[in-house]
């Protein structure tokens, strides 16, 4: 009974979300038109003469302490004269709470790290709840503007179809932070006197040796040659060996301005066949489809796995010296790409200003500082001498942070907000040695020659198209994921491939391709 009531409540609230989306009000007037008061300084610190307060609805990650208690924000308040009053909403249950706030129109001044999707941005943006930011950025945000100028694809992927920017993202120009790396167990490799594999076939041979020749020398066949978080993660990392890319946040190749959606492609079939072989011969972890994230992390952290993909070494740091990053393997058709790369504008929805905010210019200046060189170091490292020091000209956390027994993310979260959240700032090669130790950087450099020329972020659709895409992709992705898993574990024979393709066609493959082509033409085509 109680459950039903809760369910009814939730459905009612969801319905009202939908209705709220339909009531299309005119977007608010351009906020830059109303000039800020005398209290405001357009450059330099403090941002305001007399203190003001901004209400900020922020998602607090699991490792974060409340943001207002963090050294970074306590210091920043003194610098700017702006008091940030954070809501500190925990990650668990965050979306429910955020939707409630949006629907009761009880708006804060700013949303940070609020898990907004592109659909949310367009829906709430066009209904006037978020204000357009592009004018403000031009006038008051020199750092963000500089990044826009240097990397045009950032602005392209943030701009909604109506020409406005409603939300910002993180800006990740550090290549290493944008991609997973292939990690190979070098200790096992050396133990067996093997070469680093260069092709998918060689990789298979190495995995066979890992399986059969007891490389950890404990007399037991307990080695797991290859594992992964899930099938999709493995596919998106290895698909470059068959020339398939992950453009526009989807299974998409772009060549000569032509968008190709490839889940029905023959090359995708070949990938699944390859993985099926690995699975059948127990080279690919047979618990892949059932294991929990924690089980997988434990396996890698105890060096029980021979080959896997992971962005950095943070979860297996104790055994990291046993592993090396390798170059991507070449496929049977000679393709050798690494295509699982996130766009520079990562974590869309990291920052938005609402229509209830009386200080839009002050707010954009407040966030802009973190996208500059000095400000990004301040946000990530805190105060020199207190929470970090320079080593070889690069800011570095002290050992009690990096080697904290509760984990470095936990230790950093005591004074800086970025672990586990998305707050708009610049992540570059000068401020990231915690996530990017030399070993990870080295692995990234091996991948760099093989990445596609351009990495396109997911596009912003107008509200109607976005809803259509959402519905289409929900069904299609579920079908692809389920079928792929069955092809790999052998539950479904590859004789059935034609059936799979025709079902996909019926589900609207062509339509998806068309929509993305259109989005490409309007967003990215030069």
């Amino acid at each position: 009974m109680k459950k039903n009531v809760t369910f009814a409540l939730i459905s009612v609230s969801l319905a009202s979300v939908v209705f709220a989306g339909c009531s299309g009000k005119d977007p608010v007037a351009d906020p830059t038109a109303s000039a800020p008061t005398d209290n405001f300084h357009a450059t330099g610190f403090p941002i305001v003469e007399k203190p003001i307060t901004l209400d900020i609805f922020n998602r607090q990650s699991n490792s974060n302490i409340p943001w207002d208690k963090m050294l970074v924000f306590r210091e920043y308040e003194k610098m700017t004269n702006i008091k940030a009053s954070f809501k500190n909403v925990p990650t668990a249950g965050f979306n429910e709470k955020r939707n409630l706030i949006l629907n009761t129109k009880d708006l804060p001044d700013i949303f940070i790290s609020a898990n907004f999707t592109r659909l949310d941005a367009v829906k709430y943006g066009t209904s006037g709840m978020f204000i357009p930011l592009e004018g403000l950025i031009d006038q008051y945000a020199p750092n963000i503007k500089a990044l826009f100028d240097q990397y045009p694809e950032i602005k392209q992927s943030l701009t909604a179809p109506d020409g406005h920017i409603y939300m910002l993202s993180d800006f990740v120009t550090l290549f290493s932070a944008r991609t997973a790396k292939p990690w190979l167990n070098k200790k096992w490799l050396d133990e067996l006197g093997l070469e680093v594999p260069k092709t998918t076939q060689e990789l298979k041979n190495v995995l066979i040796a890992f399986r059969d020749q007891d490389p950890n020398r404990n007399g037991q066949k307990d080695e797991i040659p290859m594992s992964g978080e899930n099938l999709g993660q493995i596919v998106s990392n290895i698909n470059g060996a068959w020339g398939l890319e992950n453009q526009m946040g989807n299974r998409i190749n772009v060549q000569d301005d032509k968008v190709r959606y490839w889940p029905a492609d023959d090359r995708y079939k070949q990938i699944l066949q390859y993985l099926h072989e690995l699975y059948k011969e127990k080279l690919l972890d047979n618990t892949l489809f059932t294991q929990q994230d924690t089980e997988y992390l434990t396996k890698t952290s105890e060096a029980k796995v021979g080959f896997f993909y992971k962005q950095a070494t943070d979860t297996f740091s104790a055994v990291a010296d046993q592993f090396i990053g390798i170059e991507p393997v070449a496929g049977p058709n000679g393709d050798r790409l690494h295509t699982q790369v996130q766009p520079i504008a990562r974590s869309y929805g990291a920052f938005a200003i609402t229509s209830a905010n009386p200080y839009p210019a002050e707010s954009i200046r407040w966030i802009d500082y973190f996208s500059g060189e000095e400000g990004s170091i301040f946000l990530r490292y805190g105060v020199e001498g207190q929470t970090f020091n320079y080593a070889d000209g690069v800011p570095t956390y002290p050992d009690e942070v990096l080697k904290n027994e509760k984990g470095s993310a936990f230790a950093i979260s005591q004074f800086a907000p970025w672990p586990g959240t998305a707050i708009t700032h610049w992540i570059n090669d000068k401020n990231s040695n915690a996530v990017n130790p030399p070993q990870v950087q080295e692995a990234a450099e091996k991948l760099e020659p093989y990445i596609p020329e351009r990495i396109l972020g997911a596009p912003l659709f107008d509200a109607a198209t976005a809803k259509k895409v959402d519905t289409l992709l929900t069904d299609v992705n579920t079908y692809i994921d389920e079928s792929s898993a069955k092809f790999v574990n052998g539950e479904r024979s590859f004789d059935d491939w034609d059936n799979y393709v025709s079902t996909l066609n019926k589900m609207g493959l062509a339509e998806i391709e068309e929509i993305y082509q259109e989005a490409y033409d309007t967003t990215y085509k030069n």
Binding site: T91, L100, T294
Partner: protein, 297 residues
């Protein structure tokens, strides 16, 4: 005659055996997860994750408990939950009794209209957002009152209690008291309540467990960390977004996942012990009370 009786006994025996067998299976099904959690809380986390532990603790350690007891939030949560449970249950019992008793009296004018309106709310409500707006306008958002006042009376419990008053306490008895000059208040305090211990015990259990597990209201109404009840703290520690591993802002998620995994079971034990301790004392009333209170019209 003799033969027949013997088969009867045999039948009974078989019946008993089957009943016991089924009961044992059900008992194991219910007991095993409990035992697993207890054992896991004393085990080395990596052995639990690796699937090596299945019944008794493997690699006995108290680290998980140490970790839990050193977590400040858990204690704040504990304190808050106890406040909400004790104070909330007190409010619940008082208000539910005060509403249920008059409604049980046949001489209350407009009784059926009141009952209809009250029962109506069981099936239709204003919905989440209007309710939130109401609580907000009453100024209760982010105060301890939002955890108690909006849920002060549960309609279902109200009806159970009313039915108990109606069916278990003879009207003649109350009439006699009134004839002797007792006021309604006196009647309630001196006669009805002493006769209603079983149902009150049941209501205390219903409401207290409800408060102990209350999570959704806290999620919606509370914003300050120092007000969070235990369940919210639990959720924050234990539930990390499982699909976020590949996300860009996932730095530190892996280590949190492993930490959560290692203290998960001890945390569950610590959070459930008070309820487990109270239950045996209320249990005998529980069965009796619910039976008596079951709807007879």
């Amino acid at each position: 005659m003799k033969f027949e009786r013997r088969t009867k006994i045999k039948d009974d025996q078989w019946f008993d055996i089957i009943v016991y067998a089924i009961a044992t299976v059900i008992l194991i099904m219910i007991l095993y997860p409990l035992l697993f959690v207890v054992s896991a809380s004393f085990s080395d986390p990596s052995k639990v994750i690796g699937g090596e532990m299945w019944l008794l603790p493997k690699g006995f350690t108290l680290d998980a408990y140490k970790e839990v007891f050193e977590t400040k939030e858990v204690w704040t949560g504990y304190k808050n939950t106890i406040i909400y449970t004790v104070l909330g249950t007190l409010i619940n019992i008082t208000l539910t009794t005060l509403a249920a008793y008059p409604l049980s009296r046949k001489d209350l004018p407009g009784r059926s209209i009141f009952m209809f309106i009250i029962a109506f709310t069981m099936f239709f409500s204003g919905g989440l957002i209007p309710t939130y707006l109401l609580v907000q306008s009453l100024g209760m958002v982010d105060t301890i009152w939002s955890m108690m006042i909006p849920t002060a009376i549960a309609t279902y419990n109200l009806i159970v209690m009313r039915t108990y008053f109606q069916t278990s306490i003879p009207w003649e008895l109350q009439e006699a008291a009134l004839m002797d000059g007792s006021s309604n208040t006196r009647l309630l305090v001196s006669i009805i309540l002493p006769l209603s211990k079983p149902i009150i015990a049941v209501m205390v259990l219903f409401y207290a467990v409800g408060h102990w597990n209350a999570y959704f209201n806290a999620l919606i109404y509370l914003n300050s960390e120092h007000l969070y009840p235990l369940q919210i703290i639990l959720r924050n520690i234990l539930i990390t977004n499982q699909n976020a591993l590949m996300e860009g802002d996932a730095f530190g998620l892996g280590e949190r996942l492993l930490l959560a995994e290692s203290i998960k079971y001890s945390l569950i034990i610590v959070a459930s012990i008070p309820v487990l301790l109270i239950y045996p004392f209320v249990q005998r009333h529980f069965i009796k009370g619910v039976m008596i209170g079951s709807l007879k019209g």
